[in-house]
Symmetry: C2
């Protein structure tokens, strides 16, 4: 892996780069982004032999690549693509795990524009084939992270499609979902919710 | 998704872009690359409600992004990263599926330099957590595509680590693996091998 720090500056994290397909960017330095928290959680799960779950790379359409002599190939033109699947997947206790993670600054609801139709269709497929699919939602204002089974998110999406509200209320998420216990290691223990729902 | 054809030229497929982490590039126009064949196969599996399996995006380290007014964000500097996992994963009949796909022009063996230590470690983890892991190997000269269970590939990797040969002979792959039936739809029917091994 070629690590580069041009001008001595550290890399921007993926969340800090303005990818048009990531809504509600967090530019705050006050804490970790949800993505960073989940990456750390997944590293812990992997190191502790609990599960093997990874974030997929950001999908880019590469147009132009330079091959400078004696240096690594440099991508000089590429565009962000709309993701066709969710961001995270892997295996836990033999089961296929698949989820999307989103944070919102909204205090009382989760706007459905944070998700894409492709991702909803993907979650439907996963459920159909016997996988475990869900969404992790962080309300940054409240500093609360929720687990919501994909079947509920699909219902809310379809409610919107049928002319209903364009968001899921925090109260609905509290009722149908589960508050995830956050700590030091693992930081965001979402597998604990799965244990209760699927493995107990 | 923003599709662009600069200079009227069609996009290069990922295989045609010289990613240093993809060995044995196929620049030939005589047929589809293994990646294209597998993408088509996976699209078929998805459309026919058989399985949900996708190729992960190519991992890139993004360094610089331009935001031209009234245009899509353009990545202006990015570097290929060594993949830490395998390229394909998904769910089939409730099971977690994970594999790497490689083609070689070699006639009599598969060079182990086509894989990375990280990928071998990843496959070990998948097996440990109850997933199904394997490698799909195409011998382009013979136009034959083989399925080899990860446990065998791990054995060959460890043989190399212990001072043994730096490749797997085609004969070994023929003996321990399975020739995948190729046709029109699906093009490379690797799930048929899984049916025989795991679901019969």
């Amino acid at each position: 892996m070629s690590i580069r720090y041009p001008n001595g500056k550290p890399y921007a994290s993926e969340k800090e780069i303005h990818n048009p397909y990531i809504k509600n960017h967090t530019y705050s330095n006050r804490g970790m982004s949800l993505e960073e928290e989940l990456n750390e959680t997944n590293e812990y799960y992997s190191a502790a032999d609990i599960a093997c779950i990874h974030k997929k790379p950001t999908p880019l359409q590469i147009v132009k690549v330079d091959y400078p002599q004696r240096s690594a190939a440099v991508v000089r033109e590429a565009y962000f693509k709309q993701p066709s699947t969710t961001d995270y997947n892997g295996v836990y206790k033999g089961r296929y795990i698949d989820f999307e993670a989103k944070e919102t600054k909204n205090k009382t609801s989760f706007p459905l524009q944070n998700l894409h139709l492709h991702q909803i269709e993907h979650m439907k497929q996963i459920l159909q084939h016997g996988g475990i699919a869900f969404v992790i939602i962080k309300f940054t204002f409240h500093n609360e992270i929720y687990f919501l089974d994909a079947k509920h998110m699909i219902e809310y999406w379809e409610r919107q499609t049928n002319g209903g509200r364009k968001s899921v209320t925090k109260q609905e998420i509290e009722t149908k979902g589960y508050l995830i216990k956050c700590g030091y290691r693992p930081r965001v223990d979402y597998l604990h919710v799965l244990d209760t729902l699927y493995f107990s």
